[in-house]
């Protein structure tokens, strides 16, 4: 064995308890980093996946990002007199020239398009009134922009077309109503129209917000119920390439003027929460590794202090300062490496345990167990951070030790 390594190992063995604590400190940091990173990334990916699958990638709405300029502003632009109390022009809700827009959008490559009319209704079943969002869809188009068919838990999506006044409900909404497939509901809108509808299916997307409040029926039926014949107020779009959603949405909005949101924009607040959550968690996990590094700093400082006589004699025997430093840096490296290997095993085990815990949580999406994203890169990052901080923690006292003047120590020992 190399002499430096031999001396380093001898020092570490000589302080076995402290060495063990330091190794365990690094292992804890590495292990938690791996498990938490797998958990954070897993839950984020799970959420994004569910959002991407269950919701359109782009939605064009019958609204504008900035309020439209009123006629008086257009007529007297830059006027010196400020007119107050002007009655704003009432605009009929709904996408104008929808057929043309749909035609043009359908012509764009890699884009699937489905028109909808969305409105608020009250559903009554068994004396229970529940407010819901009723979405009028064209089943053929809808199946291309969402995974609604796959999400059906009961009934049949195709029954929407063949059943008079058929409706499908989100699973949470059905639960709230206490209704099931085959039941009949009374559905009334703000237009004062009420009809009885038959539940032909129940869907479950996994996105709590959708499952708890949305119901779907045929577009024509929704237009009648909401009192808005031939009107659509949203166009839902699915992309072949999810990564271009933001750019594509911006281009469509620029072309037609209507507010067009990509899935990222629609879920921006949630993604921001996830980002903040990640920052907090990684900071905590990073702190564990930093504390472990302090442990290494402590042990190397103690060893160099205790071994100052050895350092002096090694220098008198012809060791250069860099060689003395390398002995103590090697000690930090050994602690870092041992902690990393142990931490990998701990992290792997912890991930397995966390991933096997069964529970039911409903927040943004519902889960039955913690989603994990296992990526070898997490192991590499944890190792790089742990070994890097271990070496750095050892470097400082090691450099101090290397600078020791042997004469000072020999005089002090005499």
């Amino acid at each position: 064995m190399m002499l430096g390594a031999d001396i380093a190992l001898t020092h570490l063995r000589g302080r076995l308890r402290q060495t063990t604590v330091s190794v365990l400190g690094v292992a804890t940091g590495v292990g938690f980093f791996i498990a938490i990173a797998a958990l954070m990334e897993g839950s984020q990916r799970d959420f994004v996946e569910k959002i991407i699958d269950a919701t359109p990638h782009i939605v064009m709405k019958d609204e504008y990002r900035d309020p439209p300029r009123q006629p008086v502003e257009r007529a007297y632009s830059g006027g010196a007199v400020d007119l107050r109390g002007v009655r704003p022009e009432e605009e009929l809700r709904g996408l104008r020239a929808a057929k043309r827009i749909l035609g043009e959008l359908r012509a764009r490559p890699g884009l699937f398009v489905a028109p909808i009319l969305r409105g608020q209704v009250v559903m009554r079943h068994g004396g229970k009134d529940v407010a819901a969002s009723l979405i009028g869809i064209e089943p053929e188009a809808e199946r291309h922009v969402s995974t609604i068919e796959e999400d059906m838990r009961g009934g049949d999506f195709d029954l929407l077309r063949t059943t008079a006044n058929g409706v499908i409900l989100g699973s949470g909404l059905a639960d709230r109503l206490g209704a099931a497939e085959g039941d009949t509901l009374s559905v009334s809108s703000s237009a004062g129209i009420a009809i009885r509808m038959k539940i032909v299916g129940v869907f479950h997307t996994g996105v709590v917000g959708i499952d708890q409040s949305e119901a779907m029926t045929l577009l024509k039926k929704a237009q009648v119920l909401l009192g808005r014949p031939n009107v659509i107020n949203r166009i839902r779009m699915k992309l072949a390439d999810i990564d271009v959603a933001r750019a594509e949405a911006a281009a469509i909005e620029a072309r037609y003027g209507y507010r067009t949101e990509s899935w990222e924009e629609a879920n921006e607040s949630i993604l921001e929460v996830l980002f903040i959550r990640n920052v907090i968690i990684y900071t905590v996990v990073g702190a564990i590794l930093i504390v472990a590094a302090f442990g290494i700093f402590n042990i190397i400082s103690t060893v160099t202090f205790e071994k100052s006589r050895d350092i002096a004699i090694l220098k008198s025997l012809g060791f250069r300062a860099a060689e003395v430093r390398s002995i103590f840096v090697l000690e930090g490296l050994i602690v870092g490496l041992a902690g990393t290997v142990l931490g990998w095993a701990f992290g792997y085990g912890l991930s397995r345990v966390l991933g096997s815990i069964k529970f039911e949580v409903q927040s943004f999406t519902d889960m039955t167990r913690l989603p994990l994203y296992e990526w070898p890169g997490f192991y590499a990052i944890a190792a790089a951070f742990a070994i890097g901080s271990a070496v750095l923690a050892a470097w400082i006292p090691a450099s101090r030790a290397a600078r020791l003047n042997p004469v000072d120590i020999i005089r002090g020992a005499a």
Binding site: S316, L317, F319, V407, I410, A414
Partner: protein, 238 residues
């Protein structure tokens, strides 16, 4: 005694160590002069002692001669080569190959065996393989009467034995010069005698240059040459 290359070689008359106007002053608000105006020539194969009262600068001069410290004035020459311009790596190399140190405290590495301690300089130099290192270390220990102590730890030895192990370690790389700083300071008279006999043998039988600092006049008198130092200045160069 071990037969070494140095022992076989004919005596070289050139000085092993030469100090020319050497001084050493510690910087600070009140500078402290440890050694001043030292002009000294130590012949190869001689056994010299440096003697003087406590705080006279004996050890400081030895550290300067052994390149463990650098003079603030003058120059040290080893085998006629000036050392003033050598960098830390060069000085370390010289200490490893040409110099052997024995201190008042043995400075053995407590976690290593006696054999392991003696092998450290050889492992650092890496000139010979592990088997040869082992054989040489065992041979050195045997020559110092420690043949059965190789597997022991330093804390299992007596003070005199530890100091002899330190001597064996100093000789491991067969240095031409052995420098000893109060090597008998912690030993009883019997063990002090043994150590000084070893030094005399190293000089007279193996041709090594031995310089030992002591405050014991009786021991100092056994050397070929006695150098006296008072207040950092040589008062009698023997």
């Amino acid at each position: 005694m071990i037969e070494t290359a140095a022992a076989k070689a004919p005596a070289i008359e050139a000085p092993a160590i030469e100090a020319r106007g050497v001084g050493r002053t510690l910087p600070g608000p009140v500078p402290v002069t440890l050694v001043r105006d030292v002009d000294l020539t130590i012949a190869t194969g001689s056994f010299c002692t440096i003697i003087g009262p406590s705080g006279s600068g004996k050890s400081s001069l030895l550290y300067l001669l052994g390149l463990l410290d650098r003079p603030t004035e003058g120059e040290i020459l080893l085998d006629g080569t000036a050392t003033g311009d050598l960098d830390e790596g060069d000085l370390a190399r010289i200490r490893l190959t040409k110099l052997g140190f024995v201190f008042q405290f043995h400075f053995l590495l407590p976690e290593f065996t006696v054999l392991g301690n003696v092998m450290i300089p050889m492992r650092r130099l890496a000139r010979i393989d592990e088997e040869a290192r082992h054989a040489r270390a065992a041979e050195l220990l045997a020559s110092l009467g420690l043949e059965s102590e190789g597997a022991k730890r330093p804390d299992q030895l007596s003070g005199g034995q530890r100091q002899r192990v330190a001597v064996a370690r100093a000789l491991a790389n067969d240095p031409a010069i052995v420098l000893a700083d109060e090597p008998t300071g912690n030993l009883d008279t019997h063990n002090a005698d043994i150590v000084f006999e070893i030094f005399a043998a190293l000089a007279h039988e193996e041709g090594k240059t031995v310089v030992a600092v002591t405050h014991n006049a009786e021991l100092a008198a056994r050397a070929d040459r006695r150098i006296e130092i008072v207040d950092g200045r040589i008062t009698d160069s023997g």
